[in-house]
């Protein structure tokens, strides 16, 4: 069968160099730019809902085991450095702030400010990962990594090993999301430099922003659950 749809191609194709000069970039299935933007945002929220489920499973596992081994989990939790956790929480909140400023500046067509804020967000993300890496390094030094070398005071050792399995799985999965986010931000920075975004079209900046804030929200729950609630029972 021939391709009858060929004629129905949109006037402006996605990724065409003329994109920044045109006021509207609308794929043919949408009525207008607003509807197109709405559809993209909804799609992102669907993805984030699956991410809630993805992280939700491991959060449930953690809560369940913590209720079972509350004393051992508290003892293990106290081996984490609360101050590094606090600094990292602040770093991530700062990165969410610069991210939201990037979206704002994309919307008001301040390209230089958009680039600066994207770069700051990337740098803050790297600071977070560096501190995390340092924490991981310390846990290796202290023999707190689950496995043959794991060492913990006698009565709580097996359950503490479960705690650290959760710790590495949860923070590790969070870090993977951060690395993906930094990659996406790098792409935005590159395209922003080529003038791809305008007040009429900055959906990618907005959607990566949603993703970045979501990853921030995951950490907002990880910080108290892993670092704080073990202080007192």
């Amino acid at each position: 069968m021939p391709t009858p749809m060929r004629k129905a191609k949109p006037v402006i194709r996605w990724g065409s160099p003329s994109m920044s000069e045109t006021s509207t970039v609308i794929a043919h299935q949408f009525d207008d730019a607003e509807q197109q933007r709405e559809a993209s945002t909804l799609g992102m929220w669907v993805f984030l809902a699956t991410e809630v489920m993805f992280f939700g499973g491991i959060f449930l596992g953690y809560i369940l085991y913590r209720s079972e081994y509350s004393i051992a989990f508290a003892a293990a939790s106290n081996r984490l450095d609360i101050w590094l956790g606090l600094i990292n929480t602040a770093v991530l909140i700062c990165s969410s702030f610069t991210m939201v400023l990037a979206v704002y500046n994309a919307a008001v067509a301040r390209r230089r400010a958009l680039q600066t804020n994207l770069l700051l967000t990337i740098l803050l993300g790297c600071v977070f990962l560096s501190i995390k890496l340092y924490e991981y390094h310390m846990k290796f030094e202290e023999n707190l990594v689950p496995g043959a070398a794991f060492a913990f005071p006698a009565p709580h050792a097996p359950a503490a090993e479960i705690f650290f399995s959760f710790y590495f799985a949860m923070t590790g999965m969070h870090a993977v999301h951060m690395i993906i986010g930094i990659g996406l931000l790098g792409g935005l920075l590159f395209r922003a430099g080529r003038g791809r975004y305008s007040p009429e079209y900055f959906t990618p900046v907005e959607l990566v922003g949603l993703y970045w804030h979501f990853v921030d929200v995951v950490w907002i729950f990880l910080f108290p659950l892993l670092y704080l609630v073990g202080r007192h029972l």
Binding site: T24, D32, A33, E34, R37, E38, T41, L42, W45, V46, L48, A49, T50, E51, V52, M53, G56, G57, F59, L60, I63, L64, Y65, S67, E68, Y69, I82, L86, T89, A90, I93, C94, S96, F97, M99, V100, L101, V103, Y104, A107, V108, E200, E206, G209, L210, H213, F214, D216, V217, I220, F221, F223, P224, L225, Y227, L228, V229, R231, H232, L233
Partner: protein
């Protein structure tokens, strides 16, 4: 066509400062023994408040369509079912420890 951003920089700064203050608060509260499970309740309540601030202002949910609210809420609704139903089972069984299996 929407070309003006829905929220001002001023409100972003306000939310940003509130998030930092709540982070300081949750850390400070962790060092005070509130007794019982109140420490856990306080920590999770503050985390929930921070998450709501991020979702409403940074993620623009406050100015999004009601459809976006349903999409965003659906994920957390199922998470609520997942955790509440599982824990209501696990915590109310007498003399049974799943960990002993």
């Amino acid at each position: 066509m929407k070309s003006t951003p829905p929220i001002s920089v001023k409100s972003y700064v306000g939310v940003f400062v509130a998030l930092l203050l709540l982070t300081a608060l949750t850390t400070a509260v962790a060092f005070v023994d509130l007794g019982g499970n109140l420490n856990v309740v306080a920590a999770l309540a503050i985390a929930g408040g921070k998450a709501i601030l991020v979702a409403l202002y940074f993620m623009h949910l406050r100015h999004s369509s009601r459809l976006s609210w349903i999409f965003a809420g659906a994920g957390f609704f199922w998470l609520f079912i997942l955790i509440v139903l599982t824990m209501s089972d696990a915590l109310t069984r007498s003399g049974f420890s799943f960990a002993a299996q």
